[in-house]
Amino acid sequence: MSARGTALLLAVLAGLGLYLLLEHRRPAALAPETGSAPPLLGAPAATVVRIEVDDAEGRLVALRGPSGWTDAAGHPWGSDAPADLLDVLATLEPVMVVDPEPENPADYGFGPGALRLTLRGAGDRVLLALEVGERNPAWTGLYARLAGERRVLLVGAILHWELEKLKESAPGS
């Protein structure tokens, strides 16, 4: 083999090595189609101490207390809905990325009137901040965005069911 051929092979090898290095360093991409995407709530459900739901109807707050979930005024929650919501979020993986770069997020129901769900842990640390848009046409799922991200996710409609349960069982509702 000539010196020129060896140099060419070494260059190709170096290129491959560089590619592998860069690929390895790239942040883990969401690959929900393969079922390998992490659940929406990355922390254990038991670490959530505060649930906030903001939408066009106002703000709903659920606080974890020593004897169960209450509203901000200390009234006990009428059901297990806060715990059910957290259980679902701790296992619910996005079904797919619907749109990585939406031109008009309002098409998915995002914007000022959209529902915003915030889960906080000890020390007010935000464990999940999710903007929830509309249901997809077949109503099998909901459009959602993680705070600070533009890409639109499709998550199972069970989230809609759990949010409705939470709102309907809120003290005074």
């Binding site: 998550v155 069970i158 069911w161």
Partner: protein, 429 residues
Amino acid sequence: MRAAWRRAALVTATMAFLGAAIAAAAGDEPWILDANNWQEGKGLLPDPVLKRLEKGEYWFKVVPVDPAKFRQNFAKKFWDATAANAGRYELDEKTCGLKDKATGKIPDFVVGLPFPTIDPKDPQAGCKVAWNFTFSGNQGGGGGATFTLNGVDGTGEFRKIKAFLHGMIYQGRLDGQIKDNPENLENQAITAALEPQDVEGVSALNKRYWDWDSQDAIWAYVPSTRRARRVNAATRSDPVGGLDIFADDLNCYAGKVEYYKWKLVGEGKILAPVLQPYPFPMRQVNPSRFMVDTPYVKAGYEVPKSKGAQWWPQENLVFIPRPVWIVEGESTDPYYNFGKVIMYFDKDIYRIYWKLVHNRAGEYFYTAMCGYHFVKNDETYSAVFPSLVLGVNDKTNRAALGGRYQSSFIERNWDPNYFSLRTLTHMTD
């Protein structure tokens, strides 16, 4: 004189009109719920069904009923047994199995609703509702019917399967306990496809054991291989014959109570599908067998220029507003295909009218509507049967209709040997 008659006729007509108006105002006149007044369906239908109502795909003939009279669809013997069950049963903490308080064990024989009252604050309320559902459905003791499964899409019917189902119930029979029960069964059933030719003779034998922890024993038989093979109980969540309907849709839930984790999550009112609000008669044909004639429920694809979706029932089905418990069920079996299932149980007679099914990924994909008919001869015997199931896959926009038989039978003295592998393997001989 003629004027007096005219006045009398006018007064009579006015009174009749006012009477009808008062009745309608009181809410006991039949009315039609469709796309023109779909808002009135809010709170009476699950969301995906309401959406199709709004789009004009579904419509409902609503027939209000007297709750006390509706309750009498079940015989006095059933309600007396229910009252006698007060305080008698509790649940096994681990499995949600039914337990006799007196012995701490599974009861020997139960008839009537095991839990006459449900306290919505009781953490075990969901499981108790499920047990009441089981024993409401078991009262008849057994029977059978030949029925069809019809796959329907937006253009009409694309597949039809004819099959039969024969079942024998040991627990909950109003006719009393069958002492000879060597396999300790709650029930057993045999089902087989009759048409078309490619599935003819494909059959299954199902035995459900009366205990807290065993799986159903299910054997499937395929004539071409001449072999009966034991299959997993989770096959209840597999589509039947490639259609949008599942074995678990019979009565809207066909599993053992212990297979699910149950949770009561709410109360409400729902439109309940029934062939008619009150019982059909039963006609005796031999000492133990009775025939029941019921009308055929035609669907859109069978009625030219029908109103609504191709799969929507067009006649011989009415909807009655009923109070319901809203219960979530979730299987603990990793091989079961469904995730969270939301079911609407009648608060009085414990039938499931609607269920919404999510898959394991939390996506909603399927609604089943379960319609019933009642049979009663006197105050010592009554039964409730699943007349039809309409399964709608909202992900594929396809549906399947199951049931809709015009004749069925009640068998009050089955030969238990009929429910055997021998019957299964010799069906096509």
